[in-house]
């Protein structure tokens, strides 16, 4: 028996955010394919935008799930998302151009099985458990694929595992100088995992507002994107990496100022906080 301790009042409904996040993320990942079509690397920054879109959706999914009081803390949901997402994402990279679609489908299957295990076998009995864990796995896979596309310029298995090093003007193939071979995927894992769980963890409580949390999610996404853009300098041309850094910095600055504004707005509001508040976030 579970009691939902917090309701979404007003704001954008969850299904709208889910649809927008999924579509935007997949389209942004596909826009990095313009790299292959035009022969440049300048379109890599779309991968970062895909990650930001998925992280924004993810923060709202975590809010949706954690408002039932799962008792394990908010960060565990982010870790679950990326633990299941990384497996789906790496397998999906084998399918060439269809990779993002395969990642979504496979992550949905893994997430649904994990949701069934949590809800039925472990007897959690939370109405949104299966749907939320399915969404979380898709989010994990899309964020990782977005960062992979941004850092290495491609979302396919071969470019992700094979890089090249230049020694005395000669370009030699090297598997170590690649997104997976150099284990940058582990950094992307944590960059995304922390960005997706932080917004709800920071904004929960009786004065939770949707626009403030979603703005913080975008801010966290852009902050991770700055780091990913710096890492992409290893694999991409300088101009392409510079475009990514500028996009990330501009996006971060805009969302950060907006978040501070919204925080001041919410902090100035007077709340009828009773000694033991009835509306308690978890």
């Amino acid at each position: 028996m579970t009691v939902k301790v917090e309701v979404v009042e007003g704001g954008i409904p969850h299904n709208t955010i889910m649809a927008a996040g999924l579509v935007a993320s997949v389209i942004f990942i596909y826009l990095t394919y313009a790299n292959v079509l035009t022969g440049t690397q300048l379109f890599s920054f779309f991968g970062g935008l895909a990650a930001v879109a998925a992280i924004t959706w993810g923060s709202h999914t975590i809010k949706h799930l954690c408002s039932y009081g799962i008792g394990t803390g908010v960060p565990s949901a982010g870790m679950m998302a990326f633990g299941s997402g990384v497996i789906a994402m790496l397998f999906a990279t084998k399918f060439g151009v269809a990779s993002p679609i395969v990642a979504v489908v496979l992550a949905a299957i893994i997430g649904a099985v994990l949701g069934f295990l949590s809800n039925n076998v472990l007897n959690m009995r939370i109405p949104v458990m299966i749907q939320s864990l399915t969404e979380m796995a898709i989010i994990g896979a899309l964020v990782l694929m977005g960062f992979a596309a941004m850092i290495s310029g491609s979302f396919e298995f071969n470019p992700l595992t094979a890089g090249s090093v230049t020694i005395l003007g000669l370009s030699l193939p090297s598997y170590q100088a690649s997104f997976i071979g150099s284990s940058l995927i582990a950094v992307a894992f944590m960059l995304g995992g922390i960005a997706v769980q932080h917004p709800f963890n920071a904004c929960l409580g009786p004065n939770w507002t949707q626009d403030r949390m979603l703005t913080l999610a975008q801010e966290c996404g852009f902050l991770s994107m700055i780091t990913a853009a710096v890492m992409s300098m290893v694999f991409l041309s300088f101009s392409a990496a510079l475009v990514s850094v500028i996009v990330a910095l501009v996006g971060w600055y805009y969302t950060y100022t907006k978040y501070i504004e919204l925080s001041k707005r919410d902090a100035a509001a007077w709340l009828d906080a009773k000694p033991i508040p009835e509306l308690e976030g978890h």
């Binding site: 084998k94 099985v113 595992t161 009835e278």
Partner: protein, 278 residues
């Protein structure tokens, strides 16, 4: 029922039809893998991955996870969530075991177990220092009247209105056992996947084994981390966040977590193996 009274939902009972469905799902996944890759090394790797997942799930039940109430001195245990503790202890073990990967399966798994156990022992020791000398609270369990190992009585030291506080001796021992099992399980998953990738990647990528070794290590590592976190969080769902250690009544719920973790490890392991088999 008010929001304050709303405790996390999971009941203690086992849901038999769902458990049977889970076991059938496990058999289907194992059967499908056998059908796809045959009875070779890859199939045995899947079995190893499932065993590793079971060790992690069983191990996390021993770890005294206190959460926010422990940070306020109102419940016993280490004052953080399962995701952080499992990542700390399990990954420390995994890194330790990965160093010994060249010396064979048994040495590597034992090294991983020692790494995880050591990490938990150090964590528990400093947690006790901070509780006793920093917060000024004695260690007392709220779930049992006497410590099952030392036989010390607990109730005299327990403050009114709390569920106990600090880190009783039995919780400390439980933490070390949990670290041993978790670190060993994580290392077992890593070694099994590393062997598969070292065998299959040179042919798949048409390169020398030494050239693709970084890819094999990186793939096996990130898959092991992913599976570790999935198993740890599933177990956290089973114990609904907090547990005192092996003497806690919640410990008896572990059969459910074993079923869930076997299915989850089998599914993730199958995908991880098919990445090179397809």
């Amino acid at each position: 029922m008010t929001a304050i009274g709303a405790k996390p939902a999971a009941g203690a009972a086992m849901d038999i039809p769902s458990t049977i469905a889970g076991i059938i799902l496990l058999l289907v996944i194992v059967g499908a893998t056998y059908f796809l890759v045959g009875a070779g090394m890859m199939f045995y790797a899947l079995i190893g991955v499932i065993v590793g997942g079971l060790l992690i799930a069983f191990g996390v039940h021993f770890v005294p996870v206190g959460g926010a109430p422990a940070a306020m001195g109102q419940a016993p245990g280490i004052a953080t969530g399962v995701a952080m503790l499992a990542a700390g202890a399990g990954l420390a073990g995994l890194f330790g075991g990965a160093w010994a990967a060249e010396q064979g399966l048994v040495v590597a798994v034992i090294t991983g177990a020692v790494g995880g156990g050591l990490m938990m022992a150090i964590t528990c020791m400093f947690v006790t220092f901070i509780y006793v000398f920093g917060m000024g609270i004695p260690c007392a369990s709220g779930k049992v009247a006497k410590d099952p190992i030392t036989g010390d009585t607990q109730t005299e030291y327990k403050s009114q209105g709390t569920e106990g506080h600090g880190l009783p001796f039995v919780s400390y021992v439980g933490g070390v056992i949990g670290g041993l099992l978790g670190g060993g399980g994580g290392t077992l998953i890593y070694i099994m996947l590393l062997d598969v990738y070292k065998e299959a990647l040179p042919g798949m990528m048409k390169a020398l084994p030494a050239q693709v070794l970084p890819i094999a290590v990186s793939l096996a590592g990130i898959f092991a981390v992913g599976m570790f976190l999935v198993n740890a969080v599933l177990t956290a769902y089973n114990i609904t966040g907090t547990i005192e250690g092996p003497h806690d009544p919640k410990f008896k719920r572990f059969p459910r977590a074993l079923v869930a973790s076997a299915v989850a490890s089998a599914l993730c392991g199958m995908v991880a193996i098919l990445i090179v088999a397809m």
